[in-house]
């Protein structure tokens, strides 16, 4: 099993009446709710936590990309990964990922990911999300119905740029470059492991299977609700006739560990509530720009959230709702172990993206939960897939050499 400690980097100071007073946590949230000086402490606390997770033995530390989003303060995850590359030595840097359709030219992603792979001596996991409609369409202006075509072209350009030994011409519909010449190149050959976040479309299943990319389901609704979607993925794997290594899949899960079940609720309930009831307050009109999803995917959507009534009656999810519904796996180390086993076997996943910092959780509690997970849960889950223990196709291949970060650059080198 590979465990990645993930931080979404939420803004922890949204007011109590945020949902009543504000339209959405994402896209048009007033930036007056953000305070850059507090932001300085928030960023550094979160980065310290990611480094702490490496020290406790997590396999990876993870960051991602969002725009104009109060629960995800990383417009550029690459900047975060760059700071982590200098202060960590072992963990994979899981950048999940860069919305490749948004970069102009997308060659920028090939270059920056190569930089990160070189800086970290081959520890990069490269994520290529299509991106949510909120980020890709509303915040970054990509035409919804052209998003997927643009994504596919960007992917082709990046992979060719990494593979090519000579400059080449790329005549795409969205990007035309006379000289594609990626300097630097990644350390990992033929390329860093690639993770694709998906939300259940067959096209994305097949894209991952064909390319040996890891399919990552990043949901906040937990493992019980994910079963149907992941079953759909494994059926597709089976149909394609490829091996069913659990490392072909990953899942994001919110996790809270206390000394006892009661302590978990006492310590974490308010922060879980902050996240699920405040941070996830997204105006449904931003969820899905017309043309972004395929019609087939649309037919499966939940329509009740599009009514006037649902906008006016904001329900709220309790600790009981969230833990029983599997949104959150919480409790004593023993409880969390049992439920994690259910998750791992139920979804058949070799990668877990652990969401342990949640909402406005303070640093001490985050570290407490992280430490309990690392020391009393993770060791018991390490060997859930013994028959696939030697499968290293989907994980990083760092080089031995890890240059130490020195205090200052030697004068003669400047």
């Amino acid at each position: 099993m590979k465990f990645t400690w993930f931080n979404l980097m939420p803004w922890p100071y949204l007011p109590d009446d945020f949902r009543q007073k504000h339209h959405s946590v994402w896209v048009d949230i007033p930036s007056t709710l953000y305070d850059p000086e507090r932001g300085h402490d928030v960023y550094n606390t979160y980065l310290d936590q990611l480094e702490y997770a490496e020290a406790l033995g997590f396999d990876g530390i993870g960051v991602n990309e969002h725009h104009a989003n109060a629960y995800g303060l990383m417009p550029s995850p690459n900047i975060m990964a760059a700071t982590l590359s200098r202060r960590t030595k072992r963990a994979a840097l899981v950048v999940l990922g860069n919305s490749i359709a948004l970069y102009n030219p997308p060659l920028r992603v090939a270059e920056e990911f190569a930089m990160l792979d070189v800086l970290s001596a081959g520890r990069l996991v490269a994520g290529f999300p299509v991106g949510t409609s909120m980020d890709t369409n509303y915040c970054y202006g990509t035409v919804p119905a052209l998003t997927r075509e643009k994504y596919a072209e960007a992917h082709e350009l990046i992979m060719r740029a990494w593979a090519a030994d000579e400059p080449f011409a790329f005549n795409g519909r969205y990007t035309k470059l006379r000289y594609v010449n990626c300097w630097p190149k990644p350390i990992q050959k033929p390329h860093p492991p690639i993770f694709i976040p998906g939300g259940g479309s067959i096209e994305t299943y097949d894209f991952c299977i064909e390319n040996d990319y890891t399919y990552s389901y990043l949901s906040f609704t937990g493992y019980l609700r994910a079963k149907k979607l992941m079953d759909g993925y494994w059926e597709r794997v089976d149909k394609a006739g490829v091996d069913d290594s659990p490392y072909r899949a990953g899942f994001a899960q919110t996790i809270c560990v206390g000394e006892t079940d009661a302590e978990a609720e006492k310590l974490y309930a308010e922060h879980v509530s902050y996240f699920y009831n405040r941070c996830l307050h997204v105006y449904p009109g931003f969820a899905d720009a017309p043309g972004y999803r395929t019609i087939k995917t649309l037919q499966a959507q939940v329509l009740s959230q599009l009514t006037r009534q649902s906008l006016e009656n904001l329900g709220s999810l309790s600790w009981k709702d969230l833990t029983e519904g599997g949104h959150v796996i919480a409790g004593s180390p023993a409880t969390v172990r049992d439920r994690m086993k259910e998750l791992i076997k139920g979804l058949r996943v070799g990668n877990i993206f652990c969401l342990i910092h949640i909402g406005n959780m303070p640093d001490a509690k985050t570290r407490h939960s992280t430490k309990l997970f690392a020391e009393q849960v993770m060791p018991h889950l390490r060997n859930e897939w013994p028959e696939h223990a030697s499968d290293d196709r989907f994980w990083i291949h760092p080089v031995q050499k890890q240059a130490a970060a020195k205090g200052r650059v030697p004068a003669e080198a400047v």
């Binding site: 896209v27 369409n137 509303y138 202006g141 035409v143 919804p144 119905a145 052209l146 519909r173 105006y283 449904p284 009109g285 931003f286 899905d288 720009a289 017309p290 043309g291 999803r293 019609i295 649309l298 037919q299 959507q301 329509l303 009740s304 599009l306 009514t307 006037r308 009534q309 906008l311």
Partner: protein, 260 residues
Amino acid sequence: MEAKLIDVAEGRARVRTYVGGNGQTMLYLHGAGGLMQDDPLLKALMSKYRVYAPLLPGYEDSEGADRLRDMLDFALFGFDLMEALGLEKPILVGHSMGGMIAAEMAALAPKQIDRLALIASAGLWLDAYPIPDIFAKLPFELPALLFHDVDFGTKLMTQGVNMDDMEFLNDFMIMNAKRLGTAGKLLFPIPDRGLTDRLYRVRAKTLLIWGDDDKLIPAVYGEAFKRQIKGAELVVIPKAGHLVGHEQPEAVLKALARLG
């Protein structure tokens, strides 16, 4: 009124086209919402003109949206439609997004388009009057944006069904995703594809028709078009919103007579 599927662009697209009425030939290009059932404007136009109203790919059962990506594709598609329908110098009428395409056609080929009517047309952007984002609206929010008489507009859009009805919502969201998927190629995220740089080329006799209570593309946009198209005339119709032709079809018909 007759509805037929025609091949366009040498079979690259199939387009549902409504044809009806007698009189001078008119090509009508619809807005982002498409045509309504018993479309009141279409009915009025067909009372005086021979009207051809094609539905762009992505609307109802028209096919071929994949190859339409940008403004030039759509403007040329307009000429492909004329070719497929056998139309020579029709009166070219466009509503909202259809107006944007019609204006672009008239700028692209000024000798082929000699009479032009732009109804509450998209295509320009004035920083002082930002056009609301129709791509981020929920169904129940639309009537207030599109109509002067919101109750009338709600009934027209839903044919009397409750907007929070799940079956209505399901059909609406799927159709809306297809329609606005196409429309987004011209209108998302800002409905401006550089038309203002090309309007000087328009030679057509041009009529601009606006509702005085248009909350989506307010009538100041009519004035902006008037400033940029030589000799254009602006008619502002009272008690009408963005769907001016649906709220005041007779007044629109009367205004169109000015084109001769």
